[in-house]
């Protein structure tokens, strides 16, 4: 039941080599094992470091909003949260709200994904501060787009050379 944190070493990523420090760290939340596997692959292929969580509660724990036992090392390193909308227990919308209510985490962009195209749902999520709402199943092009946004949105924490792969997107 523990979250899986797995990301391929840079050498196996297609395209320009990106060293570890430049890779955005994405937290992907989805109750479906199949979808977690998929999103992990899509993100890894886009040179992202990925941590997955199987529900909102687990995601909160990893972000340090839970009991604080098993947080990601340096949660400030999370550059993007992608969450499924419909999950048992806590929905992606509820998770979004909790993140936006937290002074520590509200700056992290949150993307909601859903298999259903419901305009009221999309509106609700965007109004609550979701960066974007995307339809499942996600394609590599969707993830590339997100990667590009992350590059634009990331706060420079130290002086970094221009990411080598930015020009690809």
């Amino acid at each position: 039941m523990a979250c899986s944190s797995s990301s391929s070493p840079p050498t196996s990523i297609k395209g320009a080599a990106v060293d570890n420090e430049e890779r955005p760290h994405v937290l992907a939340v989805d109750d479906s094992l199949v979808d977690r596997k998929l999103i992990e692959r899509l993100l890894t292929n886009s040179a992202c470091k990925v941590t997955t969580a199987e529900n909102g509660q687990r995601a909160m724990e990893l972000l340090g909003l839970g009991d604080g036992q098993h947080t990601i090392n340096n949660r400030e390193s999370i550059n993007l949260i992608i969450t499924d909308y419909w999950m048992p227990g806590m929905t992606g919308y509820e998770l979004l709200k909790k993140i936006k209510e937290s002074s520590d985490l509200k700056e992290i962009p949150v993307v909601i994904v859903s298999s259903e195209n419901v305009p009221t749902r999309i509106k609700k999520c965007l109004e609550e501060g979701a960066q974007e709402f995307m339809l499942k199943p996600l394609q590599q092009s969707d993830v590339k787009k997100l990667r590009f946004h992350m590059m634009k949105l990331s706060k420079p924490t130290k002086s970094m050379p221009l990411p080598k792969s930015a020009h690809k997107f």
């Binding site: 391929s8 196996s12 297609k14 109750d31 479906s32 094992l33 199949v34 979808d35 596997k37 998929l38 692959r41 899509l42 292929n45 419909w86 048992p88 298999s115 499942k136 199943p137 394609q139 590599q140």
Partner: protein, 151 residues
Amino acid sequence: MDLVSQMQRQFVDYKNSLFREGFLDDQFKQLLQLQDESNPGFVVEVVSLFFQDSEKLLNNLATALQQQIVDYKQVDAYVHQFKGSSSSIGALKVKNECVAFRNYCDEKNRERCEKCLEQLKREYIAVKNKLGTLFQMERHILLRGGSIPLE
């Protein structure tokens, strides 16, 4: 034509037939594209997860529909999950069956839901067998030192 070439030809034909007959859609092609030298078992891995997930869901659905008082919200939730996972791997017929099933959940029609479950099971078993055959053909080619043709 040597044996490996023959097998490769048969593999491609079989794979194409699955798309043509509507068992698989473009999403499966996406999965194939996500597989590469660093992740050669990716498709088999994801599909295996789908099989495990599906069998659990089918059991849960059977149990839910056997209750004296059926919780249609729960049934709908299971079908929604199944629709999601089948859509994610490109199992088109299974996904379509789930869509139809959900309509009957809304109507709270037990008999039709039971029929849907039977139909869903049939479609699932059909695609499971097809994919099983496809992967087996792949293994046989690899065992004989051949490579898996993309087209």
